[in-house]
Structures are given as C-alpha cells and as structure tokens.
C-alpha cells in the first residue's frame, strides 16, 4: 500500500516538474517585437480558411501574438460578439437590424470592416449535364417547386437539394439573394427553403456529397470548390448572359451571387487587433485572399 503511494507521488512530482519546466521555458521566451496579446476570431465557416492563413502569417511575424480562429458559422460569431465572448467576428453576411438592436441593448457597438469578397458557387456532380441556371430556377429548386432535373434541361432524376444549416452565413445570404431573389422583379420575401432540403453542418460535407451523388446540388464559397464538382453558370434573369463563378467575374460584378466577407469588432479596433486587421487589408494580406480562392478587395 505505502509502496504504491510513494510510486504515485514520485510520478506526480515528475509530472509537476515537467509542467513547471514547460511553463518556465515559455515565460523565459523573449522577443523584440512590441506586439503581444491574444486575439479570438469566431464566425463564418467560409472565412475560416482565409482567417487561418492570415493568423498563421501574422503569428509568424509576431511570435508573441496568439490568434485562435474557429468557424462554427456567421450567426454564431455575431452571437459571440453580442455576448462579448470574441474579439473579432468573421462573417459572410452583414449584421441584421435585429442583431444590431440586440448588440446595442448589451452595450456592444459592432464595427464593420470588409476584408474580402466571395463568389458563391452553385455546384453539381461532374456527371450532371446541366451547366447553367437562372436565379429564378435556383429559387424554384431550393423552395421545392422544381424537383426533377428534367425540368431544367437535365436527366429524368430527382434533385437532391442541399444547403448549409441555420448557423451559416452562407445559408442566410443564399436565402436572401437566391431563394427570395433579392433585387429581382420576381423577389418574394416570404419564400423559404423547402422542407425536403438537406441541411448540412459543414460546407466540406456538402461538397463531398455532391462529388459522390449524381443528383445533388449545393452551394459553397469559391474557396471550397474543387475539381471533383462542377460549377453552374448563373444567369441573373433569363435574358442575361450565363456567368461562371471566378475571381474575375466576381471582381467585375458580372457574377450575380457574390457577397462581402467582413470582420466585426466591438467599436473601432485598437492595439494588436488593429495591427492584425491592417495586415489583412495590406497588399500582402490581399495576396493571400487570392491564393485562398476568394476575391480580394478591388483596389
């Protein structure tokens, strides 16, 4: 009995020593750069890959800064900003009037900075013969009015409609701009996603489903599109030209489904947060945007 206790305490002391050694080596670390601190970024699943690269580069240049990025969804990020549990909210949609109200009620003052743009690609399986759709057709597919590919010029097969869940800014943006056809003569604010739409917890899951399922349709930020899926050329109305999503078509505004990617902070950013955002907006930072598959801010 007593033997095992000494054995335990010996191992405990060993562990404690290791932990202390780890701590001391950390605290004895010195660096010349003045910047230090930690930043928490929560929000959009779409912006996460971009923020991660920015954060990594920034931390490499400023070793005493630590940045944690997580992407449960834009709505989550905005809720976290309102609850005061994040420094920066990354979002793939703009804050709603209702959320603004809630923020103000809690004494939070959301400050908006656009950091990049994104073209939302509509994707289908490589084997799908359909290559272009109008916004109105997309709306009909997503509300459940069109349920068979042959109605839009494809094979006689049911359409498996996939969307992100309500946590996602992409969900909200797509609903407003495609399902409800914002800004078109056919716009209808009462339209909702149909009840047979599959709501997926992540964009990656949807892209891999489309790659495997010949009848599936999904939407994803340009950064998520790979060569295992086909992007659909979108017409704003039946009379407009069909435009494939790309950095160029998003930059010149011809691709109809593009959106801003924004950072929200509580009040104007200061200190290390400002330094980080300044880096994101710099020439170097915007080069990363292009590499990550998003659309840089037009200069």
């Amino acid at each position: 009995m007593s033997k095992s206790i000494t054995k335990w305490s010996a191992s405990l002391i060993l562990v404690l020593m290791l932990v202390l050694a780890g701590c001391s080596s950390n605290s004895s670390y010195t660096d010349d750069s003045a910047l230090s601190g930690s930043i928490k970024i929560i929000g959009s699943n779409t912006v996460t890959p971009l923020s991660s690269i920015w954060a990594e580069n920034f931390m490499k240049a400023n070793p005493r800064v630590s940045i944690a990025v997580s992407g449960p969804g834009s709505g989550v990020g905005i809720a976290a900003l309102i609850d005061g549990t994040t420094d920066i909210c990354q979002s793939s949609r703009l804050i709603t009037a209702k959320e603004m109200e809630q923020a103000k009620a809690k004494g939070v003052n959301p400050y908006e900075i656009q950091v990049a743009s994104d073209a939302l690609a509509v994707i289908v399986n490589l084997a799908n013969p359909v290559s272009e759709l109008t916004i109105e057709q997309l709306s009909a597919i997503y509300t459940g009015k069109i349920t068979n590919w042959k109605e839009v010029g494809g094979k006689d097969a049911p359409i498996v409609v996939m969307s992100r869940d309500t946590n996602s800014g992409t969900h909200a943006f797509f609903k407003e701009h495609v399902v409800q056809m914002y800004g078109l003569p056919t716009a209808d604010k009462t339209l909702e996603y149909g009840k047979d739409v599959l709501f997926l917890p992540s964009t990656e899951a949807g892209v891999s489903q489309v790659a495997a399922n010949p009848n599936a349709i999904f939407y994803a930020g340009l950064g998520y599109v790979n060569d295992k899926v086909k992007t659909i050329a979108v017409r704003k109305t039946a009379g407009d030209p069909a435009v494939k999503p790309s950095v160029d078509t998003a930059l010149d505004g011809t691709y109809p489904i593009s959106r801003p990617l924004v950072y929200y902070t509580n009040g104007a950013p200061a200190g290390v947060i400002k330094a980080y955002i300044d880096y994101c907006l710099s020439k170097e930072g915007q080069k990363v945007v292009l590499e990550a598959g998003f659309v840089p801010l037009a200069k």
Binding site: D83, P158, K195, F199, L200, P201, N213
Partner: protein
C-alpha cells in the same frame, strides 16, 4: 448494469477484507483514527450524493427557466405539433414535430436492429462460446463502447451512406436509416456487455435442471437462461435506447438534416439532438430561438425520463414475478 457494478464491488470488498484481516489488531489510538477517517468518508459520500442531486435539480431548473418562456410566443400544442421550423425567418415559426418524429423513428429502428443481435451475441458469449474466447472477446466489445461518436459519424458518412443509398436505391444515403444503423452499432456494446452479465449470473442449477429434463442447448438458452435474466436484459435494452436517443454528433453528420416530417426511415431527417446542436451556436442568449431550443431540450429530457420510468416499472414487475 446492477450486476455489472455488483460484481466489481464484490471484488473490491474481497480485497478490502483481505487487507483488514492481514492487518494486526489495531491499538486504541489507531482505532480512534480509523473512526475519524470513517466519519470523514461518510461526510464525503453524503456530500457527493448531495452534489449529484443539486446538479440534476439545477439542470432541470435551467431547462425550465430558459425553455418555458417560448410558450408565451408559440403555444405548447403548436410547438409540439407544428411542422414548420424557421427560427431565423421574420417572423420566426417554431414547430418541432419533425424533430420529435425523427428522434422516435431513429431510436426505434436502431433498437430493432441492435436488440436481437446484442442479446444473441450475449447468449453466445455466456452460454456457447468457450470461456477463454468469451473472456477475450468481451473486453474488446466493451472497448467499442468508448468509440468517439464523431468517428462513428465519419464512418457513417464515408462508408455506410453510399452503401445504404445503393442498397435501397435512394436519392441520398444521408438518411434516418444510416443514422439508425450507426446508432445500433454504438448501443450494441452496452447491450451485449450488460446482458452478458445478466446471463452470467443465472444460477447453474437452473441450466442443470433444464439439461436433466432433456432440453437441448438452444431450448435451455431460450426457455431458461433468457427468461431468468430478463430483468438484466431489459435494463441493457433501456441503456441502449438511452444512448440512441441522446446521441448527437453521429446523427448530426449522417441523418441528412431535412426539416420535413419523415414518413419512412429512409427519408433525410433532423432529430431533436441534432436540431439543438446545429442551432444553439447561432442563437443569441435569451432570444426566441434560444428559448425554443431549450424547450426542445426540455422535451428531450421528459422523453428520456419517461424511458427510465418505464424501464424501472418493467424491472420492478420482473422482480416481483421472480419473487413468487
């Protein structure tokens, strides 16, 4: 579960007794110290028990406090039987019928799959398999119970869903059936382990009497072993159902997440747990969606409570039957 715990407790008690008898007769000073130690242990156990109860009551109180206000916005019957769930629309609608039906359907199907396999496996391990084989296989099955659910979800997503899709000729493999199969795999270890324990403690005399009457092995298992271990097996099944109802990650990943009220297990669906998990992050604290999700949690809690109460009743009746 009871047998499971009891057995290990008994082992612990045996070693304790050995130690006590091995010790020399204590002196008066040592005896006083032992008494003090005993008092300390008693208080410690009492406080631990109290803590468990306080935490449980606290959870119920929070569920009620955060969940009940939604019924001022949506009346309870509309909330329960409404088929439309649009939490972020303006104005939002909260109807959780699709989630309730999905949860019941997924749980039912997974139970129907897991119980026959699980009980048969337990009977094999306990009555048929060579002792040595059973002793190697059982720990392996128990390790399966500790498999992270996100990995099960991943396996379901990558391997099972294409299989289900082609086998049933579906539009998509992300459906209730895929989730139910994964859930049955997850509850199987619990069912096997607990029912094997129950079968293991069936008195040898029962079986010997059966064999003496000329019964075959199969007849003995079916008519003697399983009926006399039924209370333990029922407890095992209830534990399995509990696991299936509460499982979230796997279901979120493979059940498809459609908002329609499912008609068949092969429809994509959203269970109550998945609905909470996929919505709670987005909900602002105290907002309508937040309240609605807590109310879903409250109903889930009532559901599991009902399962437990029914299990308790079944066990009680079983015990009375044997007491005769």
């Amino acid at each position: 579960m009871c047998h499971w715990l009891n057995r290990s407790n008994k082992e612990g008690l045996a070693t304790l007794q050995e130690q006590v008898t091995a010790a020399t007769v204590p002196t008066t000073g040592l005896r006083r110290r032992l008494r003090l130690g005993e008092r300390f242990i008693e208080v410690w156990i009492f406080l631990s028990g109290l803590l468990a109860i306080v935490v449980l009551l606290g959870i119920i109180a929070i569920l009620l406090k955060e969940g009940l206000p939604i019924f001022a916005h949506t009346p309870p019957w509309k909330f329960l039987f409404g088929a439309k769930w649009y939490p972020i629309s303006d104005p939002p609608t909260f109807g959780i019928a699709p989630f309730v039906v999905s949860t019941l359907m997924v749980t039912l199907v997974s139970t129907v799959i897991a119980v026959p396999i699980g009980v048969a496996c337990a009977a094999y391990l306990s009555e048929v398999a060579h002792r040595k084989l059973a002793e190697t296989v059982k720990p392996i099955i128990e390790i399966l119970a500790g498999f992270p659910s996100v990995m099960m979800g991943f396996i379901g997503l990558a391997l099972l869903s294409p299989l289900v899709q082609s086998a049933f000729n579906l539009n998509t493999g992300l459906c209730g059936l895929t989730a139910a199969i994964m859930l049955s795999l997850m509850s199987l270890p619990i069912i096997v382990s607990v029912s094997e324990d129950a079968l293991h403690v069936v008195p040898k005399e029962f079986k010997e009497a059966s064999y003496a009457l000329g019964a075959t092995k199969w007849e003995t298992i079916w008519h003697v072993c399983i009926p006399s271990a039924l209370s333990g097996i029922a407890a095992a099944i209830m534990l399995g159902i509990g696991r299936a109802i509460g499982e979230t990650m796997t279901v979120l990943m493979v059940a498809g997440g459609a908002l329609a009220v499912p008609v068949s297990p092969t429809d994509p669906m959203t269970t109550m747990t998945a609905a909470i998990a996929s919505g709670i992050g987005n909900a602002v604290r105290g907002g309508l969606q937040y309240q609605a999700l807590f109310a879903v949690g409250l109903i889930l809690f009532i559901l599991t409570l009902a399962v437990n109460i029914i299990a308790e009743r079944v066990l009680e009746r079983q015990k009375r039957k044997f007491a005769r």
